[in-house]
């Protein structure tokens, strides 16, 4: 290069200021879009929500300080010259040793996975899990396929719990508080200290989480043996739906049971602030049931209507959603009962109707004046009532968005409604296989009353300081107790009041059992040797008893369990010896014997429904704090894979937020990402705003789960805010559940802006064409019998032939409810690293499958669609020809394969990919440690069957090719072909709503082929083949099944609803 010329060039460069920093925000301006009826965020339709300067305080790393006086091309020229100099290093591999076992366990083959059945221990749903272990180490959890509750599925929380097992921040040994410091002590010392301090103490208590098996019974036995009273067992679960439902059915029928839904019978479900798709009673069971019972099939589709003020996943999944005023759930139920009562088709015996009449009489004032407060018209609710009585239906109410002072009243009114629609015995089952209540209602209130008189309390697997409203001063109560022992599988906030911190076994290291449904006993067994110096909680208690000289006659908890299971043996399998029985259950994971029990007659309810029902003020703002659908009450907050799994509706990660109606935000001149101060008489918090379409204009939604201040918890510490500071600590009188909804707030905007790490627009393909297809039910009935051939596209490519398999996937948009379990399962199966908030803001998330969430129609009444998006495995893949090193190639079986060791990181493929599914490793994630950065993960939790990628390498979904190969080898060795459904990919396997089907497209009879030729199938960006438009002609092996709605398409997609509201639309229902 001539000198003058180079000088000219450099002079030009000096004038340019930026090299590789993107000049603007990652998120495109909302004006420059053509997105059809769908929008991914509220600011696309309400641009005034957009903050003025997108480079807000949280995004320091994104755009600032990258200015560099050389432009990109010259930088690359200079850079490559230097790179030649650097690329001379040679490294010899050091000799490796292979350590075989000294004595290999029987049945154990190195390199072959062993599976153990157990029961998930993260919530009270009691899902059965099959734990895949390699060389004695759990690597993946999967639902047991024939378990009656989860039927093979598992939620994200359950999937992620394996990270909790290997979490490096678990306590390594017991800690004893001396003066102000904690010193590690031996277990022997712990027992001695505890025995010393508990000697002759009469008021020893246990504070523990929910359990449905023999655990609480054992704790009671221990307390009795200690000389304390079994009254001093306090149980606490933040999911209060169980308590409210159990209490209501106790009042109504004399039995504290929670009805089970017979999904096969249901055609119409009305949810009143139901969180059936989030936590609910049994999230996976309900998701499976809703999917099997209500989603579109063969020209028929059930209906799910949701009345709610918050925007929940259930509301998003609902066919119709009516927005009611905050806290007016009980009022809505009352008005519904009133309409149903007068309905000519209403069911119920004369006696039942008389009792319901009493209730209505009690509330005649609200019935007369309630419509105005409720926010929906009588016509709309009447249409719902018409459908309810005409079809096999049920009303489902309550959930963490409705823990108001009327949670039990809501349930009682729902009982009335269900009687009038004839649900009991038909769609709601109370006489057999009902759900059990994991806690005793009102225990927390009891604890608060008793705390001052207690001599000691042992907290086991519960975090009362974090999960109860701060206004209850739980901390002060605990501090007054002379001895507090905290026995936890993972350190929790409550440890700060404890004198002794004891590491308990993770549930994967423990013995236990659950009876989440009456008559269904699930076994929990240890699947790994303890990974730290932990002990099984129950065994610790037995040892303490032994040191007190007050032995229970059991060597350990297993012996206790076996004694209890002997009773089950006698009832369930009297002809089988105990060892055989116990081993058989261990092998299978569960045993069932359902027996029918008579349900009592309806009892007078009116006395329990006294008092005027809450009606919100017209001009006030209210707050509600539902449980986060991923993190629950915070029990998942220390698991990086869950923090990084986006919230279904906001798509936010690593944070908490305040979701608000976009119109309210514009009215108050608030912006997206603006930090607001939320005040109640009880306390105040500052939190970032997210404009959430569909939220009632008077409501602010702040999810629970995040906000841990615990220094030892490096994953959750400093992430988000705990909204429980806002609540006065009042209890709902009947079920004893703290109120976390419908609390009036005052809100002030601050000048601080904070970037929420949301994922939705990072890989935005919404403006590229018809991403979501939608048919009305009527339209679909005419299309049901048509056969589609998506694979015949006029082009010049040779057709693929010759292979036995062509792997394909079909994703039903009607079934997906945005729970995110697929993301967690995929991350764990494929060693996908977690990158942390800053990297996500930079657009560097690594998840191979993402959940795109779209809104359509008016921002106050949006229709929501979730679209799981993974590599589409295009047969004519745009990413393949652009790779200069053939690192991404096409497999004859249709898989778009990625060869990591070939990849040099040009990222051309990511540019070429129209679906934006390729992920680039900007870092080698430090697999050896965890804690310095949130994304660092413990290597012991890695799947040894999948390569760990390093910096500079592109990656993406590979259709779980490792699983495919494993299954193919097994079939080949057995001399047979793979049969349909034999291989399940990780996302499909775990999907609680069975939205994903995977299989061989060359097999005419496989499920996936049938779905691909269905009249509902379409290819993403595949145009409209029926009218000769073939779109990009990428010919993906993944197809989607269009959404089916009850409304006509134009009506459903319309941005602004007609002035008359949504009343007419429910006529189809």
């Amino acid at each position: 290069m001539a000198t003058e010329h180079a000088d000219d060039e450099l002079a030009k460069l000096e004038r340019l200021s930026e090299v590789y920093a993107p000049s603007g925000d990652f998120e495109r301006e909302s004006s420059a879009r053509d997105t059809g009826p769908y929008y991914a965020a509220a600011e696309e339709v309400l641009p005034e929500l957009e903050p003025e300067d997108p480079r807000v305080s949280g995004a320091k790393a994104s755009a600032e300080g990258k200015a560099f006086p050389v432009d990109r091309r010259d930088f690359m020229r200079l850079f490559s010259m230097g790179a030649v100099v650097g690329a001379t290093a040679c490294v010899r591999r050091p000799p490796e040793t292979v350590l075989p076992y000294v004595t290999q366990p029987i049945d154990m083959v190195p390199g072959v996975a062993t599976y153990y059945a157990s029961t998930c221990g993260l919530c009270s749903a009691g899902c059965g899990i099959m734990v895949k272990t390699r060389e004695g180490r759990p690597v993946k959890l999967e639902g047991i396929a024939d378990h009656p509750i989860n039927q093979g599925g598992l939620c994200g929380l359950g999937q992620a719990s394996i990270q909790g097992l290997y979490h490096p921040e678990r306590l390594k040994s017991p800690l004893l508080k001396q003066e102000w410091t904690y010193t590690p002590v031996s277990w022997e010392r712990v027992y001695k200290v505890m025995a010393e301090r508990l000697k002759n103490k009469k008021r020893v208590a246990i504070f523990t989480g929910g359990a449905t098996g023999h655990r609480h019974g054992f704790f009671r036995d221990v307390l009795r043996a200690m000389g304390s009273s079994e009254e001093l067992l306090y149980t606490w679960e933040p999911n209060g739906l169980h308590q409210a439902m159990a209490k209501a059915h106790h009042v109504a029928f004399g039995e504290a049971r929670i009805p089970r839904i017979e999904f096969q019978e249901v055609q119409y479900v009305l949810g009143i602030a139901s969180d059936i798709h989030e936590q609910g009673i049994s999230p996976v069971y309900h998701a499976k049931g809703m999917s099997q019972g209500l989603s579109y099939q063969n020209g028929k589709m059930g209906t799910f209507v949701q009345l709610e003020s918050n925007m929940t996943l259930s509301g998003a999944a609902a066919h119709e959603r009516l927005v009611i005023a905050p806290g007016s759930e009980a009022l809505a139920a009352l008005l519904l009962v009133e309409i149903l009562y007068d309905h000519p088709l209403a069911k119920g015996s004369n006696e039942e109707r008389r009792l319901i009449k009493e209730v209505l009489h009690e509330h005649r004032k609200e019935i007369a004046g309630g419509w105005d407060a409720l926010g929906i018209s009588q016509k709309q609710l009447s249409a719902v009532a018409d459908a309810l009585v005409a079809k096999p239906s049920l009303v489902l109410a309550g959930g963490s968005s409705a823990f108001t002072a009327e949670a039990t009243k809501l349930q009682l009114l729902t009982v009335c409604a269900n009687i009038l629609v004839g649900a009991y015995g038909k769609t709601l089952i109370l006489h057999q296989g009902w759900h059990t209540n994991p806690v005793v209602s009102g225990d927390v209130q009891r604890f608060i009353a008793d705390a001052a008189s207690l001599d000691a309390v042992i907290i086991i697997d519960s975090d009362p300081l974090f999960t109860l409203p701060a206004a209850l001063h739980i901390k002060e109560l605990f501090q007054k107790i002379p001895l507090v022992v905290s026995l936890q599988a993972f350190p929790v906030s409550s440890d700060e009041v404890a004198h002794l911190l004891l590491p308990a076994h993770h549930y994967l290291e423990s013995w236990g059992d659950e009876q989440a449904v009456a008559g269904l006993w699930s076994m929990r067994q240890p699947v790994v040797r303890p990974t730290t110096e932990s002990r099984q909680s129950e065994d610790v208690l037995l040892w303490v008893l032994a040191h007190l000289g007050k032995n229970l006659p059991y060597a350990d908890y297993l012996a206790y369990l076996k004694e209890r299971w002997q009773d089950l043996n006698r009832v369930m399998a009297p002809l089988v010896g105990f060892d055989t029985f116990f081993q058989a259950v261990q092998r299978k994971g569960f045993i069932t014997q359902f027996s029918s029990q008579v349900v009592g007659e309806l009892r007078p309810l009116a006395t329990h429904l006294r008092g005027e029902l809450f009606a919100p003020k017209k001009d006030a703002l209210y707050v509600v704090s539902p449980l986060d659908h991923r993190l629950h009450d915070g029990r998942g907050a220390h698991l990086p894979v869950l923090q990084e799994c986006p919230d279904g509706l906001t798509t936010a990660t690593w944070d908490s937020w305040a979701a608000m109606n976009p119109h309210t935000m514009t009215r108050l001149a608030l912006k997206r990402n603006q930090v607001v101060q939320i005040k109640t008489p009880a306390g105040e918090i500052s939190l970032v705003l997210y404009p959430m379409p569909g939220v009632h204009p008077q409501l602010l939604v702040v999810p629970r789960g995040n906000g841990s201040q615990d220094k030892r918890n490096t994953i959750a510490r400093g992430v988000g805010v705990n909204p429980l500071a806002l609540y006065a600590g009042e209890f709902e009188p009947e079920s004893g559940q703290p109120i976390t909804a419908a609390t009036e707030i005052s809100l002030t905007g601050t000048s601080t802006m904070y970037r929420l790490a949301t994922l939705q627009k990072h890989n935005d393909i919404n403006s590229r064409g018809e991403i979501i297809k939608n048919y009305s039910l009527a339209e679909m009935q005419t299309r049901e019998h048509m056969t589609k051939d998506l694979d015949t596209v006029p082009d010049l490519f040779p057709t693929l032939a010759g292979a036995e398999h062509r792997w394909g996937m079909s994703i039903d948009l009607n079934k997906c409810n945005g729970c995110g379990a697929c993301i967690v399962a995929c991350s764990l199966e494929n060693n996908v690293p977690q990158v942390g908030r800053e990297q996500i803001i930079l657009g560097r998330e690594m998840q191979w499958i993402r959940l795109d969430r779209y809104f359509a129609a008016d921002v106050d009444h949006p229709r929501v669609t979730f679209q799981p998006l993974l590599c589409q495995h295009c047969n004519h893949a745009p990413c393949e020809p652009v790779c200069p090193v053939f690192a991404t190639t096409h497999d004859p079986e249709g898989i778009n394969a990625m060869t990591y060791n070939r990849c040099v990181g040009t990222r051309y493929c990511a540019n070429a990919c129209p679906y934006k599914v390729r992920r680039f490793n900007w870092w080698t994630h430090a697999w050896g440690k965890m804690g310095e950065r949130p994304q660092d993960r413990n290597p012991r939790a890695l799947n040894p069957d999948v390569t760990v990628r390093t910096r500079g390498v592109m990656e993406k979904c590979n259709f779980c090719v490792g699983r495919l190969r494993e299954a193919k080898h097994t079939a080949k060795i057995a001399g047979r072909k793979l049969h349909d459904g034999e291989v399940q990919v990780a996302c499909q396997q775990t999907c609680p709503s069975e939205a994903i089907v995977f299989g061989n497209l060359n097999d005419k009879f496989s499920r996936v082929t049938k779905q691909r030729s269905n009249g509902r199938a379409y290819l993403l960006l595949g145009g409209d083949p029926e009218h000769g438009h073939y779109g990009l002609k990428t010919l993906p092996n993944v197809n989607y099944l269009a959404q089916v709605s009850h409304q006509a398409r134009d009506e459903a997609n319309h941005h602004q609803p007609a002035a008359s509201g949504h009343g007419e639309q429910s006529e189809h229902a």
């Binding site: 010259m81 100099v85 650097g86 000799p95 076992y101 000294v102 290999q104 079986e893 990591y900």
Partner: protein
């Protein structure tokens, strides 16, 4: 100004060489060692175990000890208890066997040096190769096809180059030639994700 530009150019060149060193060298899986380049790697082992004695002279089948080979991705180094199954009684006084017994008595695994090592991004499965059958239903491979005449050597040696070309050569052999417009049937697939995923 000129010196500024010059220093800028030098700085970028220096930075990029540093960057490429940082980006592509140690810590991760750099694997261009001579050991797997050409075969012939023959490390010393903690105990002078003789394959010639066991497999050659005494004719013990390979899979008697390496029993995982037909079931697993790995052939498996036998656990010490397998050795002790015989050597509790046989030649228990020999000095080499005493070394073995010591390991066993102390419940310590024997730190065998890995001979046939593949990089972490290669996923080879013994199971499918050991069980592979030809059209006549006979086993397609003997262990020696890849591991060489182990029964003649004392400690194990890397016999094959274990390079991709060597793998592909066999995978790519036509079992049935292309005919009637049908593609040739090959021994095994050669797509990247057969081994790399």
């Amino acid at each position: 100004m000129r010196s500024f530009r010059l220093s800028l150019i030098l700085l970028v060149m220096y930075a990029s060489s540093a960057h490429s060193w940082w980006m592509w060298t140690p810590g991760d899986h750099v694997d261009n060692s001579t050991q797997s380049m050409m075969g012939g790697y023959h490390p010393d082992q903690p105990i002078l175990f003789s394959h010639a004695k066991h497999a050659g002279e005494r004719g013990i089948p390979c899979q008697f000890c390496h029993s995982a080979a037909r079931r697993s991705i790995t052939a498996g180094i036998p656990p010490t208890s397998t050795c002790m199954g015989c050597h509790k009684l046989i030649k228990s006084e020999s000095p080499l066997i005493k070394e073995l017994t010591n390991f066993f008595a102390e419940n310590k695994p024997i730190p065998w040096v890995k001979v046939n090592a593949l990089p972490d991004y290669v996923r080879f499965s013994h199971r499918i190769h050991v069980n592979a059958k030809n059209a006549q239903g006979e086993a397609m491979f003997a262990c020696q096809d890849c591991h060489g005449p182990v029964e003649k050597s004392v400690t194990a040696e890397q016999w094959a180059p274990l390079q991709m070309g060597w793998c592909v050569e066999c995978h790519n052999k036509e079992r049935e030639p292309a005919r009637d417009g049908k593609p040739a049937v090959r021994n095994a697939p050669v797509t990247c994700n057969t081994c790399h995923f």
